[in-house]
């Protein structure tokens, strides 16, 4: 019944449901364990099994088609035509793998950092994972919305219970800000349903709605996604939430949650409201460029490591939205690559801050300065991720940013030049951080270097940073078909 856009799953078992709900199952099992150590091991095993299942998914993924794959279809609320539909394409496949690999890493990074209520912590993490994968797999608006909102609850609890000193303020601000955007998303979803009579996401694409309708729907979508990204005027929840969240929470926030906003633009705004997207593109590009420059300058003034990285996310996500609204294949590919790169690099930087925070109990740059001779292994990892963060050639971010900048120059020279300046500021604040941490102080302190567990969980991220930096083609080729198809369908709307 749905063959024109959804290729049904032929693997013999519902692999997308399995990937989505395995973490939840693991989480429910954890609730019955009583020993903290057993809880951690069980959470780790759950995370690894989910990762393995997602690798099976990747191994069977066919990059030569733009149709949604591994489809599953179940009728859910027939009277309103709401269905349980899952499926992935080249845009989502990497985002899912990013989520599944980060979960075991986050479990490992919380191994000793979380001492209180370990069981609830791991439960929240695994529920988060289910919701995050669900967002990327769902092809039904209501299903998507349920996962999208359900994510808020465990994330809120992660910040509110295990967060830093200002967790009360940060968690409430995060929740209300995000919910504010989401209710407009819901209204837009209902509006589309009343026009098309379906909640199916692929069926709502490119339906030729009137421009007036598109503009309103685009604005409702844009508020929700711009808050999640976060784009320039809507970014104020982010520093508070990132800074106060426990390390694992920051990693999830930066690496996956922010991607959902950009994913929303790619999956909803562009195909459903193409006219309005083109109409608003100059504004979106302007906001992206402002975010890049503004984020960079704010970073230069930070003394708190976590805050600095949080603000650098604002700048980096500016590149992502810039790429999306350039309406070029380079821009799209760069944006999606940047989403993955930012997920890996910024996630890794938050992990690094978490590692040093466990030892010095301070996130201030000055307190952690001069570590070059004390903890050389740590500084090595931190150095790599820092230079990757400001897009040093040979690292992953370089590839993504160059794609985005090429795409931007095709459209607007001014935006391109400004983005390049933003990239230079990024180098300035990241090198400033690195210089302080490595050479900033002379005194000798007793700080232990990274242990094996910490090396193990950072190693896959290092591998990714260098692999994509030197050889991005395999990644690009998987996503190319879906993005090219999106651009082809957009073309009639771009003058």
């Amino acid at each position: 019944m749905t063959s024109n856009y959804l290729m049904m799953n032929t693997l013999g078992f519902p692999i997308l449901s399995a990937t989505t709900f395995l973490p939840l199952l693991g989480g429910l099992i954890i609730l019955f364990l009583t020993n903290d150590r057993a809880v951690k091991v069980a959470a780790l095993i759950t995370g690894i099994i989910t990762f393995v299942v997602s690798l099976i998914l990747f191994a069977n993924f066919k990059p030569d088609t733009q149709i949604f794959q591994f489809g599953e279809f179940l009728s859910w609320i027939p009277s309103y035509n709401i269905n349980y539909v899952l499926g992935i394409d080249g845009i989502t496949v990497f985002l899912i793998i990013l989520t599944t690999i980060l979960t075991p890493i986050c479990v490992l990074c919380s191994w000793t950092a979380i001492k209180e209520r370990v069981k609830e912590f791991m439960f929240c993490m695994l529920v988060m994972e289910t919701a995050m994968i669900g967002v990327f797999c769902a092809l039904d608006f209501i299903l998507f919305y349920i996962f999208w909102e359900a994510m808020l609850i465990p994330m809120y609890l992660l910040i509110a219970i295990w967060g830093g000193p200002r967790k009360d303020y940060a968690s409430i601000k995060f929740f209300i800000y995000t919910l504010f955007g989401s209710v407009f998303l819901l209204v837009a979803i209902i509006a589309i349903y009343l026009v098309t009579g379906t909640f199916s996401i692929p069926e709502a694409m490119f339906r030729g709605y009137s421009l007036n309708f598109q503009i309103w729907v685009f604005l409702a979508f844009a508020v929700a996604f711009a808050i999640k990204v976060p784009m320039f005027p809507f970014h104020t929840w982010l520093p508070a939430a990132h800074t106060e969240a426990p390390t694992a929470g920051s990693v999830f926030l930066a690496s996956v949650l922010l991607k959902m906003g950009a994913y929303g633009f790619l999956r909803f705004c562009l195909p459903m409201t193409p006219d309005a997207s083109v109409y608003f593109a100059p504004w979106m590009i302007a906001l992206s460029v402002i975010a890049i420059i503004y984020g960079g300058f704010v970073c230069l003034a930070q003394t708190d490591m976590k805050k600095l990285i949080a603000y650098s996310s604002v700048a980096h996500m500016g590149f992502v939205t810039l790429g999306i609204f350039s309406f070029t294949l380079f821009g799209f590919e760069g944006a999606l690559l940047q989403m993955l790169n930012h997920g890996v690099t910024t996630g890794a930087l938050f992990l690094c801050v978490g590692i040093i925070y466990e030892r010095t109990h301070s996130r201030e740059i000055y307190d952690n300065a001069g570590l070059g001779k004390i903890t050389p292994v740590y500084v090595g990892f931190l150095g790599l991720f820092c230079i990757s963060s400001f897009a040093f050639p040979g690292t992953n971010n370089f590839v993504g940013e160059i794609y985005v900048i090429i795409g931007t120059f095709m459209g607007s020279k001014l935006a391109g030049f400004t983005a390049v300046i933003g990239a230079v500021i990024a180098a300035a604040y990241m090198l400033r951080l690195l210089k302080q941490i490595v050479w900033g102080r002379e005194d000798k302190r007793a700080i232990t270097d990274m242990n094996a567990r910490e090396v193990i969980y950072l190693a896959p991220l290092v591998l990714f940073v260098i692999w994509v930096g030197l050889f991005p083609r395999p990644y690009v080729s998987v996503m190319e078909r879906s993005l090219a198809n999106l651009l082809d369908q957009m073309r009639p709307f771009i003058q």
Binding site: I77, S79, E120, A160, I161, V187, I190
Partner: protein, 469 residues
């Protein structure tokens, strides 16, 4: 005749329940009435579930038994049953009045059940008054009762009397227009009159009696004081069960006006918008949780109106669905209050501090019901609200949909406050762990299950509701 008895079997069972406690109150005061009330309430629930598919008319057409009324009776008895099982008899009501308390609860239930079946104006008034007068009596019944309780019950009585008065005035107009007190006759002439002031006044005034029960603006003034003043069980009852019956009658009466004039719908939209905005804004500053829930109830009355004012069977089904969910989530929230206040005191936000440590299960129940009241997936509150918004949107009322959406954001602040304080604030040192008995744990898990079930699997329940209309 036997068949007629079968038709009103649920009502007869409730009547029996009350009569039983009437005699019980004459006997030995030492005996615990709760031990009898719970099994009896289960029987009431069983009877109303068994007779759910009955159909027929009684009392020369004044009283109709159909799927619509039977479903409401089943929902009422389910709520009644849950309230009785939640009730902690210790320290709540003076033991001397224990049996009478159950008797009046039973009479109130009887009135509400009859209300669900009434299709004639006079019988509606009688049923409504049976249920109201019993409640007027039990509001001041609280152990260590002070002037606060008396004030609350006086307010309830006076506001109730005024609302009934206005309702009777509206009914007078209905009779004047149609020359009949039967809804079946009124519906034939009303739609033509809905563009005239007389028709609008007639329907809107008739609705006031039920707006009062639902605590919709501008008939909400009693709610905060009653919630604060009455004992926890009484509040739980008043906050949930009469509202279900009120929605049944709102649907019945508003359908008289279908397809309805624009002015009439505008009045309902305005009431809904003011009610939800006012409830949520005032809810923000409350410290007493029962008062907070009173304002939340005012806001939810506004949400339910979204379904009613759509004037479609979709809209009505969503309103009923939302009431069912509201029953569960509100009861869950009140249950936490009951268990937290072992001495029958009112619970403030500060008493919640450290609840997650003192009793993780209770904190989880509170979180589930708060998120559901706020309308966050995957809880029933979200699914219900989604249905409401869709039906109002479909009927073309975009503005009220946006107002409701914005209100969701406002309300999240105080609902989240409940969760935030119980999870992230440390308990005061003298607060020990809360130990729950097996029955209490079971009820907690049932509530969590119901809230999640209504959120994730709404279709079968929704189909029954749609069939009933």
């Amino acid at each position: 005749m036997r068949n007629d008895m079968l038709l009103i079997l649920p009502e007869l069972t409730v009547l029996l329940f009350s009569v039983f406690f009437l005699f019980f109150s004459l006997g030995d005061r030492k005996r615990n009435p709760a031990a009898w009330a719970r099994p009896l309430s289960l029987i009431i629930l069983g009877v109303s579930l068994l007779t759910v598919s009955e159909g027929g008319e009684l009392f020369s057409g004044a009283y109709r038994v159909d799927l619509f009324s039977q479903i409401f009776k089943a929902m009422l008895s389910l709520g009644f049953c849950l309230v009785l099982f939640m009730m902690e008899n210790k320290n709540e009501i003076n033991e001397r009045y224990g049996a009478e308390y159950y008797m009046f609860l039973g009479f109130s239930m009887l009135g509400l059940m009859m209300l669900a079946g009434s299709v004639e104006l006079i019988s509606m008034v009688i049923s409504l008054e049976i249920s109201s007068y019993s409640l007027y009596v039990i509001v001041p019944l609280r152990k260590g009762s002070t002037k606060v309780q008396i004030e609350a019950s006086m307010k309830y009585l006076f506001f109730g009397a005024v609302a009934t008065g206005i309702m009777l005035y509206g009914m007078g107009y209905l009779y004047a227009i149609s020359r009949s007190t039967f809804l079946a006759d009124i519906i034939k002439v009303m739609p033509a009159c809905m563009n005239q002031p007389a028709g609008i006044i007639a329907v809107v005034f008739t609705l006031t009696g039920f707006f009062f029960k639902l605590s919709l603006f501008p008939f909400h003034f009693w709610a905060p004081d009653i919630y604060e003043g009455a004992s926890n069980t009484t509040t739980t009852f008043i906050a949930t069960i009469p509202k279900i019956a009120a929605v049944a009658l709102l649907i019945r009466i508003v359908m008289l006006a279908a397809p309805g004039g624009q002015q009439f719908i505008n009045i309902l939209i305005a009431l809904a918008a003011v009610s939800m905005t006012l409830g949520n804004l005032v809810g923000l500053v409350q410290r007493d949780i029962k008062r907070l829930l009173a304002y939340s109830g005012i806001a939810h009355a506004g949400y339910v109106m979204l379904g009613v004012l759509s004037l479609s069977s979709d809209g009505n089904a969503s309103a009923i669905y939302y009431m069912a969910v509201y029953l569960f989530m509100n009861l869950a929230c009140f249950y936490v209050i009951m268990l937290l206040s072992r001495n029958n005191d009112n619970v403030t936000l500060d008493d919640l501090a450290g609840l997650a440590k003192r009793s993780p299960l209770l904190a989880f129940v509170l979180a589930a019901s708060a998120f559901s009241l706020a309308g966050i997936p995957p809880t029933g509150g979200f699914t219900g609200k989604l249905f409401l918004l869709m039906s109002a949107f479909k009927a073309g009322h975009l503005y009220i949909v946006i107002i409701a959406a914005v209100n969701t954001v406002i309300s999240i602040f105080y609902y989240l406050n409940l969760v935030r304080i119980s999870y992230s604030r440390a308990a005061s040192t003298d607060a020990g762990d809360i130990r729950l008995t097996f029955k209490e744990k079971a009820l907690c898990i049932i509530f969590i299950g119901l809230i999640l079930y209504t959120g994730i699997f709404p279709f079968s329940i929704m189909e029954i509701f749609t069939a009933a209309l």
